[in-house]
Symmetry: C2
Subunit: 300 residues, 2 copies
């Protein structure tokens, strides 16, 4: 059984684990990532953590998941808000030099999708499209167990897909971008605009008002299901996956939007596409497991 080092690097914490090719976590170490102290500090810390993994040299390689777009060919980040100084920084190369293990990098949505496709909800399906609906919205196309990352890692930047060009733009995204209209943060923002900031702290407060049959809350959730349906129709008409795997915090409230979203999706695609499977993500640690799948998906 192959074993791999998976690394989930965030702005606050970093987790390093030894994982089997089946996705079983054998050993895991968590540490602050020192994301604001510069790449040298972050890198030397990660190298130490990897060397704390028992018999790390027996692993076939290292995979790293990072936030934001990655140039997977040159193995560098292309944008980084939570990790200071990391754009174009050769983290993967430095890990490779320090450990002797071939090292691969991709963004967190892509590695989560890879994990779900290879050893999670999408296992056995040739084309899996993973969508995370949380504070933001991200996605990953996995074909035959391999992420299609794109020319510069921007494939799956579905949070910026235009759902309705006549809405207001937010956060440097397109006017009517899916993340600005159908994410958890979007529902919170819209709820606050209607009910006031004191009443709405998070998307769950809007769903609570929906439960009380508040007509404005019903309208907001109805708009969200339409917007998500358009998002999924975009993805489906371009990739026609065997399965959509949906993860992220908003799945906790799925009883409010899941079924209606699928009905509206079915109205926006061709007949033969309507029975595509929508399923919930099932891995508890997709980030670190997916990172570990990177060397395997690259042929190791």
């Amino acid at each position: 059984m192959k074993k791999i080092i998976g690394i989930d690097l965030g702005g606050t914490n970093v987790r390093v684990a030894k994982i089997t090719e089946n996705g079983e976590v054998l050993q895991e170490i968590k540490s602050p990532s020192y994301g604001m102290e510069g790449p040298e500090k972050v890198t030397s810390n990660i190298i130490e953590l990897v060397k704390q993994i028992d018999d790390y040299q027996s692993c076939i390689g290292i995979g790293i998941g990072v936030p934001g777009p990655v140039d997977t060919v040159n193995r560098v980040m292309k944008l980084s808000s939570n990790l200071k100084g990391f754009v174009d920084y050769p983290l993967a190369q430095k890990l490779e030099e320090a450990t002797g293990l071939p090292t691969f990098m991709d963004n967190d949505a892509n590695v989560a999708g890879l994990a779900e496709a290879r050893v999670g909800a999408g296992k056995g399906y040739p084309i899996v499209y993973y969508v995370t609906i949380s504070t933001g919205i991200g996605g990953a196309l996995v074909v035959d167990g391999k992420v299609i990352s794109g020319r510069r890692g921007y494939a799956g930047e579905i949070g910026n897909l235009i759902i309705d060009p006549y809405r207001e733009p937010f956060n440097n995204l397109n006017a009517g971008a899916s993340e600005s209209e159908a994410s958890g943060r979007a529902l919170t923002r819209k709820g606050q605009a209607v009910f006031g900031e004191d009443k709405i702290n998070h998307a769950g407060d809007v769903f609570a008002l929906y439960d009380q049959k508040d007509p404005e809350a019903i309208k907001l959730v109805d708009q969200m299901t339409t917007d998500l349906a358009v998002l999924f129709s975009h993805i489906s008409l371009i990739t026609d996956p065997h399965m959509f795997v949906i993860g992220g915090g908003m799945t906790k409230s799925k009883e409010y939007w899941w079924d209606t979203m699928i009905e509206k999706f079915q109205q926006r695609v061709h007949g033969g596409m309507r029975d595509v499977i929508f399923t919930e993500a099932q891995l508890s640690e997709p980030g670190i497991v997916g990172a570990a799948m990177l060397p395997i998906s690259h042929g190791l």
Copy 2:
């Protein structure tokens, strides 16, 4: 040098050719397809044509391009308006039985994209997205020389992608579908609505009025470039290709829309995506050449 039989099957005509793996056409036969006379007649005619190809048994396989979505795994058409009775008809299997050659099938946009990616404008690029803008709009995602056809061949049905949900629906497509808004037929329809059916026979008549600085024609072309920009942003944010290859009849009028469309596209994607290459399709016979590429892309 491998040789392959490529077949381009349409409702009116069928072309059968012997083609090298580099895309060179060695021999070609054209015939009526008898598309309305039922699948037995169509099939027996194609078998005869294949047997007319010199030394056809020395070819490694057969590839067929057909109009409309294809189940590439079961090698059958899923929709067919120009070929009567072809839904789920085992054409590929029958060709295989009659010739002894392994036979593969895909839809015409996918095979054209495959041809451009392997031996045309996209040669050498890992991810090529092919878009045909003609009477309709179609597309194909080609990764490492292989078409991503989707679960049932609907990947690349980009003519149905929603560009603006507030427009009128046409032809069973979504309201605001790209094909209804930015195809040659769409521009003709919109031109007729403004200028009258007697003045506008095809999209070129709208461009002619644009040349005369007609403000309504300028408005129509401006809307078309915006709609195409949104279409390309959708594709780019999902697949982040190295290159867009654009074919189809509307490229003949590209001086009216190409550059403006790209500028508007760049406003709708992330910074690192703006320099994706847009290039014109370059093959004169992408349909039959791409059909011939199918067996190779499947590993033969």
